[in-house]
Homo-oligomer: 420 residues x 2
């Protein structure tokens, strides 16, 4: 495939996100308005929303989750942006990242100077089993779903193949969960704004309060190995290996680079975008990598003119802990077959050599599937500008990356960000 | 809104569509493959599908209709185009037109030279009431659906408002149905490849064959006024005022204008694209026009540097007969309040001054909602190249237009085509 340079520079100049969590009284439009209001306040020099020329909305299935199709103009109306063209983009859990890409391409192409990209999903209204089935429809429903697969099963298959080949153990995955919860504990927008150790303590206190015998966990390792506290979902994946079901919205304001300084003195530039598709998992010969992620990353690196080793921090798609392990290798951060050691060794921690998912990731921040790809950009924007509060990575961040996956990698999209 | 010129020329060089109809044994992917194979054969000088750099797939809700989300990579896989980026675009019944627009913008922007746009919908598996509800979720489900509205009701409201203001009668709408069925009768891909007069004769023969008394309809007017043959759906709309429930797929190959001659000596150029959003119908002050269609048309005309009067033929979104009437006015073909006379007067017939829906339109060709916007481009391509067979418009067609509507006009998208 020919990799073309972006036509002109594209800058992120504002971001916003709703609190992520379970909000039974809110709809997608409520959450989107919340995110949009934060975005408006985030633009340093202020701006008139009437300057927005188009909207791209990432959403997996408001149809199935809320019974609301045709979601993009609904969102445009909710924030007063009709009659601007509003386009919904769907790519399963990569919907947000693919919407971001459409917005980047549209600005780079000179079609628009100012574009709003949003991501939304409101998932918690349905019973959990129905959510699992709804997500399952992002797999191949002719050949995979009838075999009994839902996404925990798919990623469990990836994990077992990876364990078999490279010697990873379930404990390596627990390190990913511990790290991401440690980050999420510092993110007030996270659904699980709590460490796993604190979670354990809460469970102990709750038992005592109810007059029940206190659980005998000595530390979070005991907790994570307890089949009652951390039940197996699809071996080797346990509950704390899985991202949660979440309601949330995120948005970002993209402008032509030449206009960025009118919005802020501290813009973040999007200098690379790669996207690839792939056959469904059952058609692949290797379960230990997502080839579409490798392709998307290669395109994005080449477009940006950098290599994986130039990236300082990344938000990657940890829908399950194993997904973060595979992502680190697919993105070229770590050699194939070594990624599983990185959380345990502290490499991917906030103070490590390559911080990953400083936001808490999908795992702790939450995973409103259509919003996640945009929320990744929100975190990168804040980290690169030094606005991430207590979870701020202290070192300088000239280059960063986001990695968003649909299903088991039948869509992958990668973006690269630069602070000049 | 600032209207920018397209960055570079974009040409249509091949099209394909499946037969439209009810195919209980087929899925969207079967229909898409059928359309894609026809497209490949339609490229005059041949081409290697590996040249395709990206796919945009218009689809309203494979989620709700087939239980299949994440449809774009499924389609890419079905025609062997992974790992190209495959993006699903959803805009209710304008999904196909909006996908076409994304492809046009991507080529115009210089991001890709060769792009495949597809539209798919497989609707007939669900019981009719469930189809109606699924389509209904493209309205505003918080404020409109709970009031009991489904789409026949919405368009009936538009029709009654229009009748009240301009003096139209239900018979004017019947002329639209008669005209579109007359066109569909000449389109072998149409779901209803039959005139209303022939339909009536079939009903008479069927009754006689079963030994029942023959219906006493004297002509198609009798037939259309018979509450049993043409039952009221939502007054003043009867069955033959409504487009059907359809399975179908359509696709088109778009290339950079400078490469068009490598594919065909007879390319059709896309010289204008306009899209607009709008508030839901309940928020509007006037039911007799779709403001988003007027905005989209104004943008497309200005981009193309032409006026409505330059357009020779058009495929417009006749989801209901009244929608064709309103479209003719919104697009500037006919003065406001006069559009309802045009079918009766023969102006919009194949041999009229302004042929509309020579394909049969959504009404007779069928309306697989995500495919319709792309199928409109298929008809325009064939007509402009003189390849429309028995339904070919005889006069020269230098300029043509497609008009695709989502819901009651909360999305509208208009494209303008030129044969140079």
């Amino acid at each position: 495939m020919l990799i073309r340079k972006l036509g002109r520079g594209v800058a992120l100049v504002g971001v916003g996100m709703s609190k992520f969590g379970a909000f039974p009284d809110k709809t997608s439009r409520d959450l989107f308005v919340e995110a949009f209001q934060e975005l408006c306040a985030s633009v340093d020099k202020g701006f008139d929303p009437a300057e927005i020329e188009a909207l791209y909305i990432g959403n997996y299935s408001s149809d199935l989750f809320e019974g609301q199709g045709h979601t993009a103009p609904i969102m445009a109306d909710a924030v007063g942006l009709t009659p601007r063209p509003a386009v919904r983009v769907e790519a399963a859990c990569a919907s947000g990242g693919v919407a971001l890409r459409q917005a980047v391409l549209a600005v780079a192409a000179g079609m628009y100077d100012v574009v709003l990209v949003g991501g939304i999903e409101c998932m918690t209204r349905l019973p959990t089993a129905q959510v699992t089935d709804t997500l399952g429809s992002a797999a191949d429903v002719l050949y995979e779903t009838p075999a009994g697969f839902t996404f925990p099963g798919f990623y469990a298959a990836i994990a077992t193949a990876y364990m078999h080949r490279y010697g990873m153990t379930p404990e390596h995955l627990m390190h990913v969960a511990l790290k991401n919860h440690a980050n999420g504990a510092l993110n007030p927008k996270a659904q699980f704004n709590i460490t796993i150790a604190a979670w354990m303590q809460n469970r102990i206190q709750a038992a005592l309060k109810k007059g029940r015998p206190a659980p005998t966990w000595r530390d979070e390792w005991d907790f994570l190995h307890d089949d009652a506290a951390n039940p197996p979902i699809a071996w080797p994946l346990r509950l704390f290996d899985c991202s949660p079901i979440t309601d949330g919205a995120a948005c970002a304001l993209l402008v032509a680079a030449e206009r960025a300084r009118a919005f802020t003195d501290n813009p973040i530039y999007v200098i690379g975008t790669g996207q690839a598709s792939d056959v469904p998992l059952h058609s692949r010969t290797d379960l230990t990598t997502l080839p579409a992620a490798r392709t998307a990353a290669r395109i994005a690196y080449e477009q940006a003119g950098i290599t994986a080793q130039d990236i300082r921090i990344a938000e990657v798609h940890d829908c399950f802990t194993i997904a973060e392990v595979v992502a680190g290798e697919d993105l070229g951060f770590f050699a194939t077959g070594t990624g599983y050691k990185m959380a345990e060794d502290g490499v991917t921690a906030r103070d490590g050599a390559r911080p990953i998912n400083t936001s808490g990731g999908l795992k702790a921040k939450g995973h409103p599937v259509g919003a996640s790809g945009v929320a990744q950009a929100v975190e990168i924007f804040k980290q690169m500008r030094g606005e991430a509060g207590p979870r701020q990575v202290t070192r300088d961040i000239p280059l960063a990356l986001t990695h968003n996956v649909g299903a088991t990698g039948s869509t992958c999209v990668v973006h690269i960000y630069e602070r000049k």
